[in-house]
Structure formats: C-alpha cells, structure tokens
Symmetry: C2
C-alpha cells in the first residue's frame, strides 16, 4: 500500500476519499463493538475506526493492536458526528473508516506514554530519546529548527552569500574557552583542535575574495554542561567584505525579519531599536536587556550624596553606585516576607542587601524611609517617576554588583508580575562595546570580543594609552533578554592588528607565532570586512517556546552522559590507547 | 562610496551608467598617457580606464597602483572600440571611465600571479590559500559547490525532508575505518569519537518518527591522505521511513536531475540505467563502471577450454577467468611497444601478463595467434564482436585480478582514445550487492556495507548457511566511473538484526554490548526505513571538472600539513598535555 498523506494532515478536505496511512498506535479505545485508534505520525494524530460493518478482518487485527505498534491502514475519510468533533486537533472533524490494516512492526510496552506533556524524569526520556522524539511537542521543535535554517539559507542565498565549509580539524587557538583536542596519528605528537568558531577561516575567505560567506556550523567548547550550554553547538556564521557596521546590521535585520515571518508568521518592525552598551548597563544593568517590559534601573548617586544614609553614601564614595527599581503598583502585593525573598535572590548575585520603600499618598514607608527627608523624597519621586502604590527597591554596592543584582531581580519580577506578553519578540541591538575588558584576577586586559575586532577609528590613538575608553565597532543582537548573537567589523590593516596585539600585551614574536598567518595575509590586499555569528540552538529555543537547550538538539549531551550510549564518550581499545600514548610521548620528546 | 555591482557583472547593459566598484588590481597597463587596469572581484574582471580628460587626480592615484591593491572606483560605463572588444570575457564589450578612485588597502608583491591557470607548486598555492582562492578557476568551484548544496536543500525541503543535525562528538564504532578520538576531560578516561557517518543516528531518527531526514554533514576518517581522500569529508545524508528500494532510488534520481539542471543546465534523462553488481563486475570488471563509452569486458572461459593454450586453460581450471577487451579500430594505432606499456599498466593491478591479438581481414596476428585455430577464431570474433582492424587484449588469472586489470585498462584506454565526450554525465545504479564480503586475511565474513543493511527477503534463509549467495537491498549510484554514493534498506526487525550479528560472528553478548541501544530501539515500533549517503566533495569535483579533491575544499589537508597553519595539527601546551595524560591514565586504571 502506498501512503497517500500524513495522519496529521487529514482534514475535512479529504472527506469521502479513500486514503492510506502509516503510523504508530497512540491510543486504543474499544467502544460498543467498535475500536477507535489514535494513529500518529510526524504531522500529528488522526482517529481511525474499526467497524465490523466495514471489515470484520480489520476489526480482528485491531483487537491485537497495542501502543506504539506500527501499522498501515486503508480507509475512507468520513465526517465525525457533531458530538464527536474534537476542536483541539486539526483532524478533529473527521475520522477514517478502516477497510484494511496491516501490522508493520510490534512494540513492547514503552517505558512512558508518548504524549506532548509527560511527567517523566529527563534522564529516562533521554535514555529512550527515540521515543521522546515521537512526542508532538518535541517533534514540533525540530520542525521550527528546520524552518529557521531554511529561512536563513534562502535569505542569504538571495542576498548573494556563498555557503562555504571551514575545517573541523583545526589548530588550537590560545585565547578563549578550552579546546577539544584530537591527537593526530598521521602527524605523531601533534594535535588538532575542534573550532570554537570559524572566525579566522572566514576572515581568510574574505581576504580570498569570497565577498559574502555564510555557514551553519558546529562549534565546540570543552566545558562543563549547563542547561544553557552544550559542548557542541551550532552557529549561523556570516562574514561580508567592503561593509561597515550599518551594512551588517541591516542585512541581519532583514534575515531576522524573514525568519520571524516564515517561522512565526510575524511581521517584525524594522529597524530594530538600538542602545549602546553603556545605556544597556545603565538602564538594565545587563548587556542583554529584556525590553518586553519597562521597569528600567534608575541611578541615584546624586540623591545618595544628599542623604544621611551610610550604606548609600559609602557605595558612592567608594566609586560604586546606588540604583533603584520601581515596581509599579506593587507596594501592596509584596509583604515584608516577599521582599525578604527578593533580598535572598539579590544576594545570589553578590548584593549585601536589598533596601526598599513603599510609596503612599502620605509619603514613604519602610525600614529606610527615615533617611528620606521631604526634599530627598521629592527628588526620589522625581528621578524614578515612582508614585503612590509603587514599591522601590535599592541596591548600593560596587557598580557591577548593583547591576547584576538589579538586572536579575528585574527579570524575575517581570515574569512574576506577568509583565511579559506571551509570544512577544523584542529585538534590540547593543552597540559601542568596549574593545577591552580588564581581568582583575589575571591583572591584565583581554579583548572583550576577540583580538580581531576593529577599534573605532576615533579611539585609535587611545589604544595603548587609555584602554578603558576605547570602543569597538562591535554589536550584539538581543532577543527577549537572550544574546542571540554578536559580531564586529574586523581589523583589516596589518599595522592596526599589530598595535592591537601590542595593546593586549603580546610581544611581536608571540603575536607572530600565534597569528602570523593572519598578519601575513593582511599584507596582500585584505578588504575591509565584518560579520556576525548567531546561536542557532538558542534562537530555535526562543522561537519554539522552550527553556532548555536539550529540547532543540536531537541528541544532546548530558552531564551524566548516560542519555544515549551512541552519544556519550566511552573507553577505547588497547591498540587505540597505545597509539595515543605514542602520540603523547612524541609530544613530550 | 556604495558599491553598485560586481566587476564581473558589468555587461553592456550598464552602458552610460555611473557605477561604483570595489575589487583587486589584477593587472595594470600604461598606454599613451592612459592607464588600463583589470579590476577583479568574486564575479570576474572588468577593464577600468584612467584618462586625464576624465580626472587627472584619479590618473595620479592610478600611477601608484600595483597588483592586488584593493581599490574602489566610481566611473561611467562606455562601449569599447570595436578593435578593443575582448570576446573571451563577459565584460569584454565595455570599459569603465574612472572619475574617482580610492586605495582601500595596499599589497606586497604576491608570491604568484592571480590567474586561472598558474604553474606553481601546489604547496606554495596552499600556503597562500587566501591568494589561491582569488583565482577565477578555483573561485568558480565554490560557486558550483554552493549551487549543488542549494539545489539539494531546495529539492529535499520541497519533498518534505527535515534537516536535522546529529552529534559530532559520538561513541567509537567498532567496525570500519579508524576513528579520530577526542579525550573527554569532563568524563575522565573516556573518549569521544568523530563520526565516520551519522548512520546510527539517522536510524534512531526514523525510529523517532521523523519520517524524512537529511543533513549535509562532515564525517571523519583517521586515514592517510590521498588525492581522492581527505580526513574530513562532507556527505549528503538522507534517510526515509516506510520506503523500499524503488522509493529511495526515485527520490535520488529527482534530486540528481535537479542538481544537474540548476548547476549545469542539463536535462538528464530519468530513470537512470541500472545494472546489478554481478553485471557490473562481468561487463566492466568494477563496481563503479564508467558508462560514457562501451568497450565491455567479454568473458571467454568457454573459448579458453576449447583452446590448447595453457595460460588460458590453467586460469579457468583454477577457478579463475579469461576475459578480453576489444579496442575498436586500434590494431594499427598500437605498436608492440605501446602494448608493452599497456602490459606494464595491467601488472600494477596484479596481472601477470597481457595477451593480445590483432584482427585482420586474413585472421589473427600476434604472439598468441597460433593458439587460435579456425574454429576458435570464429568463436572469438562471434563472442567479442571483434572485426578486422581491432585490437583484442586478454587477461587470464584469478577473476578478481582479471577484473581489476581490465577495468583499469579500459578506463585508461577510454581516455587515451578520446572515447569520452567532454561534459557528458552518465549516471548508473549498481544494485543487488552481496550482503557479505569474505576477508581472506581475517578469515571471516564482514558486512559488505554495514551490519544494518537488510538482506533480500528471499535470501533470509541462507543468512547463516550460504553467505556468499545472500544479496542485500543495497544500491550505489555511479557517475562517470566514480562512486557518488550508496545506500540500502535497513533492517528494522530485532530478530533479523540479531541473526545478522550472529552471521557476522558476534556472540549475543558482544552484539548487545556494541549495538544494544539500536536493538533496544527496535523493540518499540521501528518503521521500515532506508536511505543513501552521497559524497558532496566528489560530486562537486566532477561537476566542476576538477580532478583533485583539494580543489573543492576551501581549506584542505595535505600530507605535509604545512599548507595553512590554522588547518594543521600543532603541539599543545603542558597543562593540556597533563590533562590528556590524566585521561589516559584513568583509562588504563
């Protein structure tokens, strides 16, 4: 029998037609001499009916059917009785009267029911990933993933980009996260590394004249697992020649609009809003602000200096900040106990405490209200736009602590108070990033993005003298509080690149040893170029409405590595081990 | 200045327009007070002219321009004088009169000229790969590669396939080529392996109900390098549920037709011709026949037994074969010395000698002609359809040697004699492969494809008793004598899979230890499924008219590993080494 359509696609348009379906038995109900089966495939579920009036043979087979049996059926599509219509599913208005059935494969009782929402430990679901993947809610994620990559490819193809593959077996790069290493047996004592990004290769492609490159590519980081991190992840990687920041941003906005339209049917408004890194940190305390709700952070350093409150004053005097969140119309919602819970939350991010006042028609209430005299109160209300009924939360500390605590508190409150509309997608660009980042532990500056990021032309002369002031032609795209991706205009001038390495503390020899091939390439006519890299896994997670990266990866890794034996590391045999040992010995020699 | 188009796209349609171009200086000619420059970008070359009548400033800049400088120019497109038209290039009818020029980046003198055909050692070209990639003949290859993957994706997308990514960090599989191993630092003493194919994952996706899967995916083999082999290679990987061999073949033919149409503009005739493995070996001596020319092998075992020629007789008596190639109208072309050279070539493939006769109007000529009496001669001409003027070449030996020698000789002669039309693309399916392959060295049978390949239903009862007779539902697609890809219908029944492992000599415990997860998966309703995997690199190589895989990979590996420092293995630092040692020690403990 040749399948004529998918189960999930049999709508009322098929009424009266004879069709052939192949799928899995989701559920069987025996009722008044009839047998009803929910038959499932990739596209969904359809009800099939075994009726002795139609075929006694088929009915006899149906009596043997159990969950997850694979069957094929031939039958006629008929309208359901009005009373039997199920408005919750696409095929709910019809059913299929089966005239012929064949069992293709049997199934033991599965370890869990194949249903969209299952209350089963993730470990079990991952162990039986092939069953987990049959669940509609998970299967849908991979449809979204397919649609996203299709939209990306179509858009970039139409925009003149070439898809080019870069190597997976590459050389270890010194900066960045830990590389996975692969011993080479052909080249004894040497190791490949798996790439954390194709950054250098895509720059070489631009120098090679490819003009516009993209790739949807696996990247690797040998790091511990977290819900939001997988050791192998997929990047939409893009690079363009002869462009400036505006060109890259415009191209990306077009791509995101295409994705949103094709995957979600949403027309997003272009251009996306923008803010500088400085504005993001000032107003949201974080470089990936969730702009689906307002509740901006208010800086109150001046106010603090007017007050006779040591905690605030000290913070400012020590170079830190006092910032506040106004939680609108929430003074009554939050009891002292609730606020204590918020304080505990803030402490996770390093805050020593969480000060607060409630605004009433009569003035401020709360433990620190006494420090606000009339003038300071007026100023507070003026600065924060707080009004009667609002709760105001303060953190005073080092600015980085203040920002971390309030930014996370803000995100928590946004969810808790239902300030975030479902299915709202707020994109925002964060621009003008600092070029350098000072690492207190290491006692030196690192490249905030990577050492190939171009400084702004107007900051070039501060590269060696005032690193904190130097901004980069770098930009991040943020969606609903998640960093979707980031990019920059790259250095294409060998002298600028040399100065950059100097600024990062490399000697000329060190720089050449590590990046000589790129510096050499710059000698032969490198075009200006820039690009962006977007995290595909995270994008799909957000568009599919999931909260765990493991839900958007067909065979994810887990910390226990027991999820799927094919997907976990395992021991190797003696001969392999001997070869590895030889490789290692040769390295040390 | 905003670029308005690519250099290579400025045809006569632009005449009269002002345009802006950005690109590389290919060549400069100073002539009668004017300067002519060939400006190059991804799409090709255009002639730009600096004329003092147009701009003396631009002319002054032009005087400083050298090869591979990156410039941008504004200018007006004008028709060339009739005498100056260059019919060899797309932009040959026009030139651009430059009014403005800016140097974007300078270049040192490149180590070789950027021209389509360069006579430079490959090692140098690979060392400066970013310059090599600027050459039009190489850049075109990557356009073809992009077009191929685009055609594949569009076709499969329209056919209901989902693109799904499978892991790169997987578990080592026992059979097959050598795996690349990746020490896991999170799981001490254990190793990931890089996949040689996503075979098991795609089968799990089918069991997971995905129905139609594809992926264009990197695969890995830790093997020595050859011109036709790279340690990392790209596969078009496809799997479908509820299909038989005909379904997979039909789908693939549609895909290949789409590729040929979109990339080469050729309408291929469907369906493709087919032959069985047995026919291929009989008529071409090889499982990947080049069908662009005839010259089939003729089996002459019966004839040999009629003759009094010990070499032929012995071969047949020892279970071997005597086969012949008829080289049409070539008796006069090939001198005794030429034939000696052919014999040397045949010896490379194990033949002990190459017997031959020339057919004349009067009968046979040559050293072994005396062994052909009138009857045998008549029979030979009848069997081989040889006629006066033809050269007939014989090999008598073990059948595998006869086939290898004559198959390679045939391919050599096909090229040498110009029997192969340029730009001819002959597809052929080779079907009905043996399921097992006997390895004389190991003294046991192996799976000819892989242990998941389904035996033909009618051969099931011979699985344990007559392995040589068992054929598989397996098929290879061959293009112009190259294996493009191969696939099979897979086993989806746990009992059949268990029997297959038994036939391969695995104990139940061994089989379960290595493949238990798949056998477990078969318990829960596995659908019938099958698929194919095609080598993308080789496909692009054939369609782009190249003969070396390194020409279709942006950053290929070379045996010397000196081509590009980013793409070669290198030493690792002490800390990394210590961690690897720890991992190894833990394994041995």
């Amino acid at each position: 029998m040749e399948r004529t359509t998918y189960c999930g696609l049999v709508t009322e348009e098929y009424t009266g037609q004879e069709i052939v379906l192949k799928g899995w038995v989701q559920k069987r109900r025996d009722l008044g001499g009839l047998i009803f089966i929910d038959l499932r495939d990739r596209e969904g579920i359809v009800q099939i009916v075994f009726n002795p009036d139609f075929s006694t043979e088929a009915l006899a087979v149906a009596e043997t059917l159990r969950s997850e049996y694979v069957i094929e059926v031939r039958g006629k599509v008929t309208a359901r009785d009005e009373s039997a219509v199920n408005p919750k599913i696409k095929t709910g208005k019809i059913e299929v009267q089966v005239s012929e059935v064949m069992i293709i494969n049997k199934s033991e009782t599965p370890p869990f029911q194949i249903e969209s929402e299952v209350d089963i430990a993730e470990e079990i679901r991952l162990k039986y990933r092939y069953l987990d993947l049959r669940r509609e809610s998970l299967a849908n994620t991979f449809k979204v993933r397919h649609q996203v990559t299709r939209a990306v490819r179509n858009y970039l193809d139409e925009s003149g980009f070439y898809e080019v593959e870069t190597p997976v077996l590459t050389k270890s790069t010194p900066e960045g996260a830990r590389d996975y290493l692969v011993p080479s047996r052909v080249h004894e004592g040497e190791f490949y590394a798996l790439p954390q990004s194709p950054q250098i290769f895509k720059q070489l492609l631009m120098i090679g004249g490819f003009d516009k490159y993209y790739q949807i590519v696996k990247c690797f980081r040998d790091e511990d697992l977290r819900a939001d991190r997988q050791p192998e992840f997929t990047q939409i990687d893009i690079e363009m020649s002869f462009v400036d920041q505006e060109d890259v941003i415009r191209m990306n906005e077009g791509m995101m609009a295409r994705i949103m339209k094709e995957v979600k049917g949403i027309d997003v408004k272009l251009p996306f809003p923008r803010m500088t890194y400085e504005e993001a940190m000032r107003d949201y305390g974080i470089d990936k602000p969730d702009t689906r709700f307002d509740m901006k952070l208010k800086t109150l350093n001046e106010l603090a200096s007017m007050m006779d409150f040591k905690v605030f004053k000290d913070a400012v005097d020590n170079g830190g900040s006092v910032k506040a969140l106004v939680v609108k119309e929430s003074a009554e919602k939050y009891s002292r106990k609730d606020i204590d819970a918020l304080q505990e939350y803030a402490k996770v991010y390093g805050a020593k405490g969480l000060a607060w006042v409630k605004v009433t028609e009569e003035g401020l209430n709360g433990p620190i209200a006494k420090f606000f005299d009339e003038g300071v109160t007026a100023e507070l209300l003026n600065e924060t736009e707080a009004a009667a009924g609002d709760l105001v939360l303060f953190v005073a500390d080092k600015t980085s602590v203040v920002n971390a605590a309030l930014a996370n508190l803000r995100n928590k409150l946004g969810k808790e108070l239902g300030l975030i509309a479902e299915d709202q997608f707020n994109f925002v660009w964060v621009t003008d990033w600092p070029l350098f980042e000072y690492d207190e532990e290491a006692g030196r500056y690192f490249a905030a993005h990577h050492p190939f990021t171009a400084p702004k032309a107007e900051h070039m002369d501060q590269l060696l003298t005032d690193k904190d002031a130097v901004q980069a032609n770098a930009y991040d795209i943020v969606l609903n509080g998640f960093e979707l991706g980031g990019g920059s205009i790259r250095i294409h001038d060998q002298d600028v690149q040399a100065q950059m390495f100097e600024a990062l503390g490399f000697s000329k020899e060190e720089a050449y040893e590590q990046f000589g091939f790129l510096m050499d390439a710059f000698k032969y006519g490198a075009p200006p170029h820039g690009g962006i890299a977007l995290g595909l896994d995270r994008m799909v997670m957000l568009l599919a409405g999931k909260s765990n990266l493991r839900d958007v990866i067909a065979f994810p890794k887990t910390a226990s590595a027991t999820c799927l034996v094919t997907d976990a590391p395992g021991p190797v045999d003696t001969a392999q081990l001997d070869e590895l040992n030889l490789a290692l010995k040769a390295t040390k020699a």
